[in-house]
Symmetry: C2
Subunit: 186 residues, 2 copies
């Protein structure tokens, strides 16, 4: 069966992340991706998990306990480079939109999303991936989707391949994937 | 590495086609997909390979020789149901556009493409796939892409999942994939 969006997003990470890698969960939310990345990278790995809501970080911390390879960061992912200390990043995951079951007026916002993606890309190893699940059912989500797609469509093919993986006959603005893969050096 | 469009199209067929299956190459062209499908289905399989240009069929026949499981059909894929004799189909492949190195004024055309897809879908087994590589660099290709996308976006989710697999930062109207998967019965 064709992989659905959420399993496919995980699969895109699983294909490349190895024990010991440094990875970023740019939108910690309730911590499901953080937990998944923590398991993939193992005790020698590093997961940097960002959220601007302490409620999210508390929930995630509880979900992920007792994992020891996660650094929870109560800050915008747009500041990701302040926390990397020069470590090369293998993968980054974004779930755009609002915190599930949280305050729906607090959403990711295209300017900081794009800034975070640009910074993450610069810190990424060749072959690394930024995996973005785009939720666009809310007004800010529509804006974000448009701005993000326009920006990424201009990224040079020499540096990255940017995949869109989307089911076109789903109703209700179903989420879809954008995956940026950094080219290997020739 | 993220699978590029042409390997991914083959992969979508390979995942489901088994020896003995009946499959359709709706756009024989120079016969590369026909040969590929012939190998996947093996001596007990059936490949129906359509083209409206005898030049294409001749080239393909030469490429695929001495395979015995291929029926070359000099007719429009829009008449696919006339040739199936009620056999259930596992997969169909389309490469839209014109014959590579052939007459660029002879192209697939959205009305017959959509008709062929609808007929093929009705003959398809649950879990079967129609894999379409959309070339849209020529004027009729742009029309075809728009018409096809609009039509497929309305197909009910209860009957099929329709995936778009596309690299959004490629120049020159790079081809992309649409894959229709017929739902399994619940």
């Amino acid at each position: 069966m064709l992989a659905r969006v959420l399993p496919y997003a995980k699969n895109l990470a699983q294909e490349i992340v190895r024990p010991g890698d440094t990875v970023v969960d740019a939108t910690c939310g309730n911590g499901h991706d953080t937990k998944f990345l923590s398991e993939l990278t193992g005790p020698d790995g590093h997961v940097l998990s960002f959220d601007i809501q302490s409620e999210a970080i508390e929930n995630a911390r509880e979900l992920c306990s007792p994992a020891v390879n996660i650094e929870f960061i109560l800050d915008s992912h747009a500041n990701v480079d302040d926390y990397l200390s020069g470590r090369p990043v293998k993968a980054g995951m974004f779930n755009l939109g609002y915190l599930p079951k949280g305050d729906k007026t607090i959403t990711t916002e295209y300017r900081s999303t794009i800034r975070a993606i640009e910074k993450l890309f610069r810190s990424m190893v060749p072959g690394g991936r930024i995996i973005i699940v785009v939720y666009h059912g809310h007004p800010e989500g529509k804006l974000e989707k448009e701005a993000l797609t326009s920006a990424l469509a201009e990224w040079p093919q020499k540096e990255s391949q940017i995949l869109e993986y989307r089911f076109i006959n789903q109703k209700n603005d179903a989420p879809y994937i954008l995956c940026i893969e950094k080219n290997s050096k020739k």
